[in-house]
């Protein structure tokens, strides 16, 4: 795989212009709610605190992972370790066969998208139902998520109407409530039949071995309590050191993601059912997934990426993301955080286009609840891409030439004079920079005299 962001973005803008409209509308809405929710608290203090907690966690991650494993096991939860996506799939597959699983309900989980759990289980002949409404929609469409929090925001209501009409037989003019109801009817049945529920994990408290899940639809609560087996995929960076840290992170994440003070449902899971606990699955399994994370952690220039809580606030505020949604980024994580996560987790060779998918406006950093310096990280990945020869060769040559001109004032003045003297110099579309500039913009004219000429003549 090699992500061609430019081609994907161009194709989305050209062939499905409604994506731009739907994504812009949805993200403006999310972001305006975020803004209001941030205004209610001393956001700077909260962000600094959250950054500090995650920094501490990441610099002591080995200790906290061991503590988490120990507490989980003591609670009766079984713990697995997956170094790669393939290992994660293997563990889930083994568990499915161990428990004789034929049907799975899934809570929304970016890590399960990242590790490709659903297609893998389907290849084993297991029925898999996404139970988050947005995820259910994109499962029906056979599409990857377009957004970390709102996976189907790139789709217009009319498209969902048509989809449900086609797949579920709802009237072609059904209102949103009826569409949700139709999905609920299908999913209720799936919940009751499922042998296994698979979730991600927003946080996992090392001190107590508590898995925390945030949602608004109630599907996660059901997916993790009705089926016989609950399997949670948890990125190793998702730990929190102390129980006391959780309350702050639950609130800050909800404010950042959707502008809520807290998610409608927060599930705290620390053991299977049985004993004094009448509800809950017979078995709970936590799979800690690395999949590139320890590589990122060991890289002093980019390790801060791992503070991410997957709230999507940086996507919502990003003017680049808004034009295309997440599919242009070619992998499950889109937007600013995707552009720095992908090179870290997948390596730069296949993802070197992504750090350039930004105007470096800096809006992402301003909203990030854990203050990830995304613009700085983008610049770091760009520097690495250029120095490893992953940028176009013509560009490298052009940059050398441009720098040489700028180091020599005489050359600079000569080039500037040539631009004025040569008729149509700025119209010469053989030069890629001019061709690309002029492809969608008109009229580019140099001042009749340069400033330095005016200065020489005297300014009064």
């Amino acid at each position: 795989m090699r992500v061609n962001y430019h081609e994907l973005a161009r194709k989305i803008l050209r062939e499905t212009p409604s994506v731009r409209e739907s994504v812009t509308r949805a993200t403006l809405h999310f972001d305006s709610n975020r803004r209001k929710a941030y205004a209610e608290i001393d956001t700077e203090a909260w962000r600094a605190w959250a950054k500090g907690v995650k920094e501490h966690l990441l610099t002591h991650l080995d200790e906290y992972l061991e503590q988490a494993e120990e507490r989980l096991r003591a609670n009766g939860v079984q713990v697995h370790w997956a170094l790669t996506a393939e290992q994660a799939r293997g563990i889930v597959g083994d568990l499915a066969s161990q428990y004789g699983v034929r049907s799975v309900v899934k809570a929304k989980s970016m890590l399960s998208e990242e590790t490709g759990i659903t297609p893998f289980l389907e290849s084993l002949g297991i029925d898999v139902f996404e139970t988050d409404l947005g995820e259910y929609i994109i499962q029906l469409l056979r599409e990857p998520p377009s957004h970390i929090v709102g996976p189907a925001i790139h789709r217009h209501l009319d498209e969902i109407r048509a989809l449900f009409h086609d797949k579920l037989g709802t009237p072609s003019d059904a209102d949103p409530d009826s569409l949700a109801k139709a999905a609920r009817t299908v999913l209720r049945k799936a919940f009751l039949q499922a042998d296994m529920g698979i979730s991600g994990g927003n946080f996992l408290v090392a001190e107590t071995g508590t898995l925390a899940l945030i949602e608004n639809e109630g599907n996660i609560r059901i997916s993790t309590s009705i089926p016989r087996v609950h399997v949670a995929l948890v990125g190793i960076e998702k730990l929190l050191p102390r129980w006391a840290d959780l309350a702050g992170f639950l609130q800050l994440t909800a404010r950042a993601a959707t502008g809520q003070r807290i998610g409608t449902y927060v599930s705290l899971i620390q053991k299977p059912g049985g004993g004094q606990e009448p509800d809950g699955p017979e078995a709970v399994h936590v799979i800690f997934v690395d999949n590139g994370r320890s590589m990122v952690l060991s890289d002093p220039e980019v390790w801060e990426t791992l503070r991410c809580v997957r709230c999507g606030a940086c996507l919502n505020v990003c003017p680049v993301y808004r034009q295309t949604g997440g599919h242009a980024y070619g992998w499950v994580y889109g937007g600013p955080i995707g552009a720095v996560l992908a090179p870290g987790l997948l390596g730069l060779d296949s993802t070197s286009a992504l750090p350039f998918a930004s105007s470096l406006c800096g809006a992402c950093y301003d909203v990030c609840p854990v203050k990830i310096p995304i613009p700085r990280l983008l610049l770091t990945w760009r520097r690495r891409a250029a120095s490893r020869g992953l940028t176009p060769g013509s560009e490298a040559a052009m940059m050398k030439g441009y720098a040489a001109v700028m180091r020599h004032p005489l050359l600079y003045r000569t080039a500037a004079r040539a631009m004025r003297k040569i008729p149509g110099a700025l119209d010469n579309r053989v030069i890629p920079v001019i061709r690309n500039w002029k492809s969608l913009r008109s009229g580019l004219e140099a001042s009749p005299k340069s400033f330095r000429e005016l200065w020489k003549e005297g300014i009064d």
Binding site: A9, A386, M399, M406, Y412, N436, W437, P448
Partner: protein, 241 residues
Amino acid sequence: MRVSLFITCLADQFFANAGADAVRLLRSLNVDVDFPPDQTCCGQPAFNAGYWDEARSMARHTLEVFKGAQYIVLPSGSCAAMIRTFYARLFESGSAARRQAEVMAARTFELAEFVVKVLDVDELGRGLEGKTVIYHHGCHALRELNIREEPVRLLRNSGAKLADWEAAEECCGFGGVFSVKLPEVSAAMADRKLDTLPPADFLTSADGGCLLHLSGRMKNRGFELPVRPLASVLWEARREG
């Protein structure tokens, strides 16, 4: 007080008159302006594109050209941010070049910021009386240099009415090399700005790059709103008032 003007390569070639207006404005505020003739480009395009060796060589040249300057003022938030925020990153901490970069950073200002923060001038004149103005916040000025109030205050105090614009603080899609590497996305971003424009007499911004991009897209789509560099607008505020 002495200011060394860093006109920036973009303004040198595309907004020469605005540069002259910046000189007139500063002189009218009793500032001696000089123009070190060997100045070229700050190096930001190379830096943003990942070519740090090239950027470093241009930074070295610029540090040399402006060595000893009391203040360095630029009619651009973006190039000012390159010097103030990013130059230091190009040089090893503790090196002589790093120290030089830090000294230059401390003396570098965007024009409107310099007028308000250093000259302590809030009111230039009343030359914009009756005008409705749209202000586009360049991203580097806004988020790297934290310049939000200064240009707006100067415009308001000159009698201008600032039009409400929901997209005022959103990136226009210029982004330097971004605009030519990803022209379709860049233009779509400009369109979001243009499609939300309120009625006004003209649009202004401290950054020439944004203005070239926005006006280019406007011309392409048949918009007729005039687009003017902030330096010229501020000089008009003073001259006419």
